[in-house]
């Protein structure tokens, strides 16, 4: 072999190697805040799907949602963005997009027909200038009411269908020596209870209008006063140790029968399953009392940093495709306790509670936003949590004062 052919052969080999690796090197660094056992098992399903399609996954978990979001933003500003990162959809994500920090995945979305398969509310929130900037993977519901069947039986009561009925039931439970509501006393948990009361007392149309417009007349209406009155009437049915309690401790109270009812998002199912109980059996799940059928939704999404290399773009598009894949969404959501963001997925492989939720959201009128992460600007969301928690824990605030401080805090934060 001449020297020339040797060199040429080597060069060709190198070139082939280089091009092969640039084709295969769809390396995606994924920054997320899913660090607990069940959450890790869930995100492992996305990873499995991504790796099965030839991608390489670099895992960057950061404990705590706000810490992870801050890290994602800091890294973007510092010029070393993660390829894919978990975020909250809504105003904050649009602000990042406005600054040109995000890439869109419109190609994939158009190819997979995201528009027809996502709930309209989520579709709008995931878009910026008509293009998808986030891949929604699941929907969590926040207006669940879990109950301990044995505790209800002991007090001789059944599951209430309205809030006045709930208050009667709670009184009987208390007389029987059972804590009626196992409540975690952190602002966001108290807000989950409040929003369920608001949905039940004011109805879903009022809920949707009040939170989408943040209109002062609605917030100062008599309906809103009734919401605060009902909410205040629940105060005696919570035990003294509630303030500061974490959500999983409150779930445990309901599971072991110290408390009868528990208002929480469907992630509580993880705790129920971990206790060896099938959700929907001895621990039941129904929607919080309301006349209108509705689902208060919160959604987990991943967004994509603006990285101007073909490899990164390819990795991001592949990732978006994987996240919207029906099998990945099924496997992921069974581990996470949520339901798929896609509405077109057959529901027979899910537990009873999830099946009921999937059936419910087939009607778009049932779709409501949570005020936690995506329904309202984060400043308003925080203000809502503040005032609700302040009212709930106050010994002497009247419902009128509660309504007034609610309106004022929202107006101030808007």
């Amino acid at each position: 072999m001449t020297r020339f052919t040797k060199v040429a052969g080597l060069t060709a080999l190198l070139l082939a190697g280089a091009s092969a690796s640039s084709l295969n090197a769809q390396t995606a660094e994924v920054l997320h805040w899913w660090t607990s056992g069940g959450e890790q098992a869930a995100i492992a399903e996305i990873r499995k799907g991504y790796e099965a399609r030839g991608g390489e996954w670099i895992d960057t978990p950061i404990a705590g949602g706000s810490a992870a979001r801050a890290a994602a933003v800091n890294r973007m500003l510092g010029g070393d963005p993660a390829t894919v990162f978990q975020f909250a959809i809504g105003e904050q994500l649009r602000e990042l997009a406005d600054q040109g920090l995000l890439a869109d995945v419109e190609n994939v979305a158009a190819g997979q027909g995201w528009d027809d398969k996502l709930p309209p509310l989520i579709m709008q929130a995931a878009k910026h200038d008509g293009k998808y900037i986030a891949a929604p993977i699941n929907i969590h519901g926040e207006n669940w009411m879990f109950y301990n069947g044995a505790a209800l039986e002991k007090a001789g009561v059944s599951v209430p269908k309205s809030w006045p009925e709930f208050i009667e039931t709670a009184q009987k439970l208390q007389d029987a020596g059972i804590i009626p509501i196992g409540l975690g006393g952190q602002p966001w948990q108290e807000r989950i209870l409040f929003n369920s009361v608001m949905l039940g007392v004011a109805g879903r149309d009022f809920y949707a209008r009040a939170y989408s417009t943040l209109d002062e007349d609605l917030l100062m209406s008599d309906t809103m006063l009734k919401v605060f009155e009902t909410f205040a009437a629940l105060k005696p049915f919570v035990d003294e140790g509630s303030p500061g309690r974490r959500w999983n401790e409150a779930t445990a109270m309901m599971i072991d029968g110290r408390a009868a009812f528990h208002f929480m998002g469907d992630w509580a199912k993880g705790e129920i399953i971990a206790a060896g109980i099938e959700p929907g059996s001895s621990v039941g799940c129904v929607f919080a009392p309301a006349e209108d059928l509705a689902y208060i939704m919160t959604v987990d999404v991943f967004a994509f940093s603006n990285i101007d290399t073909d490899a990164a773009r390819a990795a991001q598009e592949k990732m978006a495709g994987v996240m919207f894949d029906p099998d990945v969404q099924i496997a992921f959501n069974q581990k996470k306790g949520s339901i798929p963001a896609r509405m077109d997925i057959p529901n027979d492989s899910f537990d009873d509670c999830a099946q009921y939720a999937i059936k419910t959201i087939q009607d778009p009128n049932t779709h409501l936003v949570s005020t936690g992460l995506f329904g309202v600007p984060s400043s308003v969301s925080g203000a809502i949590d503040d005032t609700i928690s302040n009212f709930w824990n106050s010994a002497d605030m009247t419902p009128e004062q509660g309504r007034d401080s609610f309106r004022q805090a929202i107006a101030n934060a808007k």
Partner: protein, 307 residues
């Protein structure tokens, strides 16, 4: 007196001034100086600039005047947290000084097993505020802590539920804070007491002055610099108190035990209210300066005058 080596060297080589040790010391200080100017004063200025903009998630520079301050001052939670800072500051600093000094005096009187007591009181200091907060959260939780324990012993009407009461929760911060820091104050006071000239004690004994009067009228005025040190150290801890609130009460119930530092962090990191958070930080800085600087000025002037 022997002349220091570098002064002798300077006299021998008056022309080689760049070689003077104090010159090199100054050069060595330049990095520290730059860091102080940029990271400390620079960022104070930057925070102020941000507080004049409508920045939310990211810093943007569209100025809106003092809009963020107006929003801040209309915020109920901000005023609660400022009021809490005053309450907590007075109780915490006062408690640390009084209890720390008291303990130091008791130990200085020569209790048996002094080493044991010293270690015992210093022990909590080795724990972080987070750990302190979690421990006290358990102790004060009415359904699993002290209240429940005493009730189980038979005193069923016993009540200690401050941590879940909006009107009392702020006091729990002071309890946990004092518990943790009192050992440090005690150690500082004890060091001061040990420096007191034994002849003073001998003289007072000869004159037949009661012990408490010696402490009150002679020793305490002599300890002025120690009081000053303790005050400054504890004030710094009050101003940056963040982790203790997070771990102990989470600012709750409601926002009744919130402190400004937590308010600021919460608004910047969780609520994407960069502008308002910056405004809060700046107001906090001004408040602190307004309260502390007269005292520092007074003390330092007195110290200089004494020389």
């Amino acid at each position: 007196m022997v002349e220091p080596a570098h002064l002798a060297a300077r006299r021998q080589h008056p022309d080689r001034r760049w070689w003077r040790p104090d010159w090199t010391a100054r050069v060595a200080l330049i990095p520290a100086l730059i860091i102080t100017i940029v990271c400390f004063y620079g960022f104070i200025v930057w925070t102020f600039i941000i507080s004049l903009t409508r920045s939310r998630l990211l810093p943007v520079y569209n100025f809106t005047g003092f809009d963020q301050y107006a929003r801040l001052f209309a915020n109920e939670r901000w005023w609660t947290s400022m009021q809490n800072l005053a309450i907590h500051g007075c109780l915490f600093i006062g408690g640390c000084v009084v209890i720390g000094y008291g303990l130091a005096i008791l130990i200085d009187r020569g209790v048996r097993g002094e080493g044991l007591f010293r270690t015992m009181f210093m022990m909590p200091l080795s724990m972080s505020f987070i750990v302190t907060g979690v421990i006290w959260q358990w102790v004060m939780n009415p359904t699993l802590g002290l209240q429940e324990a005493v009730r189980d012993l038979g005193w069923v009407t016993f009540e200690f539920n401050w941590i879940v009461r909006q009107d009392r929760s702020i006091y729990t911060l002071a309890i946990a804070g004092i518990w943790q820091q009192v050992g440090l104050c005690m150690a500082l006071f004890l060091a001061g007491l040990r420096n007191v000239d034994p002849n003073i004690w001998k003289a007072s004994r000869v004159d037949g002055i009661p012990v408490w009067r010696v402490y009150l009228h002679i020793i305490t005025p002599m300890m002025r610099t120690v009081f000053f040190t303790v005050f400054i150290l504890m004030s710094a801890i009050v101003m940056k108190a963040f982790d203790l609130v997070v771990a102990l009460t989470g600012g709750g119930p409601g926002f009744s035990s919130d402190l400004p530092a937590r308010f600021v962090v919460d608004h910047i990191l969780n609520r994407q209210e960069l502008g308002m958070g910056a405004a809060g930080a700046f107001v906090l800085l001004c408040t602190v300066l307004a309260v502390i600087s007269p005292y520092i000025y007074f003390e330092l002037r007195k110290a200089r005058g004494a020389h």
